[in-house]
Structures are given as C-alpha cells and as structure tokens.
C-alpha cells in the first residue's frame, strides 16, 4: 500500500543531512513552507544550499535558518526583502555565498532538472553581468546563454490539499515554484492544510501528480506546529 503521509513535521524532515541542497517553494510569504522550515531548524542540519526565490522574508522560514548560520549558500533571484537583515549582514561579511539567478531562468533551470534535461539556452542575461562567463550561442539571430539544470537533494513545498498518493492541489499564487520544485528533488516533502481520501481530489484538478512526492505532512492552515 502506498502511504506518503507522515504523522509529524519532525519525521518529515528527519532524514535531511548536513550539506544538502534544498529547493524551497514560495514567493515572499506566499507558498513558503514555514512549518517544514521551522522543523528543519529544530532538526539541526547545517551547511545547506537553499534554492528559493528570496533569501528569507519577514524574519520567518529561510530567514531563521540563515540567522542560525545553517545556510552556506543561497541560490535565488531576489534576496532583498523586508526584514531580511540576517542575510544582508552575513552576505556583506562574506559569510554566505550568493548565486543570483534571473527569476525565469531559476524556474526553468529547476523545470529542466525535473524533466531530465541538462540545460537550455535563453536570451535572458545575455550582455549583462549575470551572463558573464556563460557559453553563448547565436540561435535564429538571437544571442542566448547556456543555463544548467538544477536538481536538489530535497524539496520543501507548501500545498493546499493532498491524498495518500501525494497528489497535490495549491491555493492562489502560493502555487508559484511548488509544482516545478516537486519534480527536481530526490526527496520532495510537502506540508498541506488538508488531507483527503483517495478520490477526494478531482483528477482534472490535480496540479502535482503524486509520483513526484515522497512525504506529506498535514499542518494547521497558518503553518503552526
């Protein structure tokens, strides 16, 4: 029998190792899996590489991990956020590495990782400092830079509803990176607000099929433990 539902946040994150690369869904606070991130903080894994749109937001989630010096490297598109002071300070002191990626390139690198594609060429970034040092091809008269796919050890994702197969639906723009990140990690761990019996999700409405998901944990809608 397939049952990806785990009873606690602690168990959901128990196997995350030091030095892991972790995809984290969210755009600002929308779709940020705060309960999973808090559980990861408690679990203690360190020297992490976090791949996410922002480098912490509002003093919660990734910001707490950064503050606790668990993060070695951030791969993100927009590190600057309100109250992201922890990241700013460590970055200025040279104590956290930053790989800055244009937002669409970040999403597509993750999509490629999940789709088994090594990389792709995109016009985005050509002729800018974010395109420097990258292979360039002229395709149909347009200069394009090569961008490598991203795969990770773990994905931490927030979704709305799940069944025991790990089929997922999302709420509003909290969907953002969730569906692509779920495809690109060896272990995708999802926090949801609601568990449904098999058949409770309309197959026409499933956004992330369960094949991409390894663990599901149900938390209160506000992300409280």
């Amino acid at each position: 029998m397939i049952n990806k539902i785990v009873p606690s946040l602690r168990e959901a994150v128990s196997e995350i190792k030091d030095g892991s690369s972790i995809l984290v869904s969210g755009f600002g606070g929308a779709g940020l899996p705060i309960a999973l991130l808090d559980a990861l903080l408690e679990q203690g894994a360190k020297a992490l590489t976090i791949i996410s749109n922002n480098a912490g937001n509002g003093g919660v989630g990734i910001a707490k991990l950064v503050q606790a010096r668990r993060v070695k490297k951030m791969v993100c598109s927009f590190p600057r956020q309100p109250e992201s002071g922890a990241f700013d300070d460590l970055y200025r002191q040279g104590e956290i590495e930053l790989e800055l990626v244009p937002q669409g390139t970040l999403a597509e690198r993750i999509r490629a990782g999940g789709a088994g594609i090594g990389g792709f060429y995109t016009p985005t970034g050509y002729g800018t400092e974010l395109g420097e040092g990258k292979e360039v091809k002229l395709i149909d008269g347009v200069h394009q830079v090569f961008e490598k796919a991203i795969k990770a050890d773990v994905a931490l994702i927030k979704a709305q509803s799940a069944d025991r197969y790990g089929n997922l639906t999302y709420h509003g723009t909290a969907r953002n990176y969730g569906p692509v990140m779920a495809t690109a990690a060896a272990c995708t761990i999802v926090q949801v607000s609601e568990l449904l019996d098999l058949g409770g999700l309309n197959p026409e409405h499933v956004v992330t099929p369960g094949v991409y998901v390894q663990k599901v944990v149900c938390v209160q809608p506000q992300g409280a433990l």
Partner: protein, 223 residues
C-alpha cells in the same frame, strides 16, 4: 536641483504618466506591470478596454489591491502585496509564468529604470553601490521576452542628470530592449534610427528637451 529651463514647466505627475502609457495599450492586451511606479497603472485601467494584467508569480487576470476581508496572503502581486483576481483569471506555476513571458505571449511590460540608452539598453536592477544587496527578480526575462517594453521613469535624476544616456553606466538588465520611454517631461520612442520624441510637456520646446536629455533625438514626423 532644478534646471533653469524647468522652473516654469508643469511636469507630468505619476498619474499623468500612467494615463499616457495606457493610451498606447490596446483593448485585449496582456500586460505585465513591474514593481514600483508601473504598478500604479492598475489604478487607471480604462473601462472601455479589456486589459488583462499578468503577475510574474503565476496569475493572469490580476485585479486591484485587496482591501479588508478580500485580503488573502497567498494571493499576491510581484511586489508581494495582496491583490484580487478578476473574473476569468487563471493561476499557473512559476515556470509556466516565465514561459509565457519569454515565449512572447505577453504583449507589453512596463518597467521602471535607472537608465535607458539611445539604443534601448536598459539598466534597472542595481546601482553601483557596493553595499547594496544585488537582486534581479524577473526584470531580465521580462525585458527581453515581452513584445513591447515600456519604461516609466523620471526624466532626470535627483541631481539633474538625464536618465536617457548614450551608454548606460549602471549594470545592464538587457541590451536593445526598450521600445518607448515615458517620463515626466516627454514620450520618446526608441527606433532603429535613434530616439524619436512623440510628445512633450507644454512650455518646453523640442530644442530644450534635446538639450536637457543630452543625446541626439528627432521629433515625430520630421527628418
């Protein structure tokens, strides 16, 4: 510092620039508004045209900012403010959202800028301040992906320098990307043959506009 030429000139307000840009956005257009000033266009959407707003974080058919019990912290715009969804809105994930942008399916994007060059190079994501935390967001994808790129900005910096320049000195967002520049002084199109002034504020002569801008420019309809 106000230029002597500008002392008696009524510059366009942010609202007037927004309304001027909207004159150039046709019925049925799918439009992305950048963070900052461009977002204000959503306050002036004309009732006689259907203009669908795209938000990079996965929403097409974005409505006005949410108020009171409309606020849902998981329905937000690119600036992370809570927004509403219009009837007919669609939600999609981030990779699809940027496929929509890069694939040329979005008709028009309005971005702010630090500098625009005479060739339409755009610099809008970081200054030369070494202490600033670099953050690029979706600007590079938007600048190259959309069919028409409009820039909304002040014509001059606070210290009186033109923001329309021969070559950008700030780090570039994209090369030869901007189609039209809308400022508090003028509307200036970027063409393969150089800048063309379309309109400018009353009381300012074309010659004064060129002198203030400091780069070569033609006027619409004249050689």
């Amino acid at each position: 510092m106000t230029h002597p030429e500008l002392q008696n000139i009524q510059r366009r307000t942010q609202a007037q620039i927004a309304q001027r840009i909207l004159e150039d956005i046709p019925d049925g257009a799918h439009v992305n508004l950048g963070i900052g000033q461009p977002m204000s266009l959503s306050n002036y959407l004309p009732k006689d045209r259907e203009i669908l707003l795209h938000s990079e974080n996965g929403l097409l058919g974005m409505g006005p900012l949410a108020q009171g019990d409309q606020i849902d912290p998981e329905i937000v715009n690119a600036g992370k403010q809570a927004v509403t969804m219009m009837p007919g809105a669609a939600l999609f994930h981030h990779a699809d959202s940027f496929a929509m942008i890069r694939g040329g399916h979005i008709d028009c994007c309005v971005l702010g800028a630090f500098q625009v060059s005479v060739k339409g190079d755009l610099a809008n994501w970081r200054t030369s301040d070494p202490k600033a935390i670099p953050a690029v967001g979706g600007a590079m994808d938007l600048a190259l992906g959309v069919k028409k790129l409009f820039v909304m900005m002040e014509h001059m910096t606070k210290t009186g320098q033109s923001k329309i320049v021969e070559r950008c000195t700030y780090p570039l967002t994209a090369l030869e990307a901007v189609d039209c520049i809308y400022t508090d002084l003028a509307t200036i199109e970027v063409t393969p043959h150089g800048l063309v002034a379309i309109d400018w504020v009353e009381g300012l002569s074309f010659e004064q506009l060129v002198a203030l801008t400091g780069v070569p420019m033609k006027r619409k309809g004249r050689a």
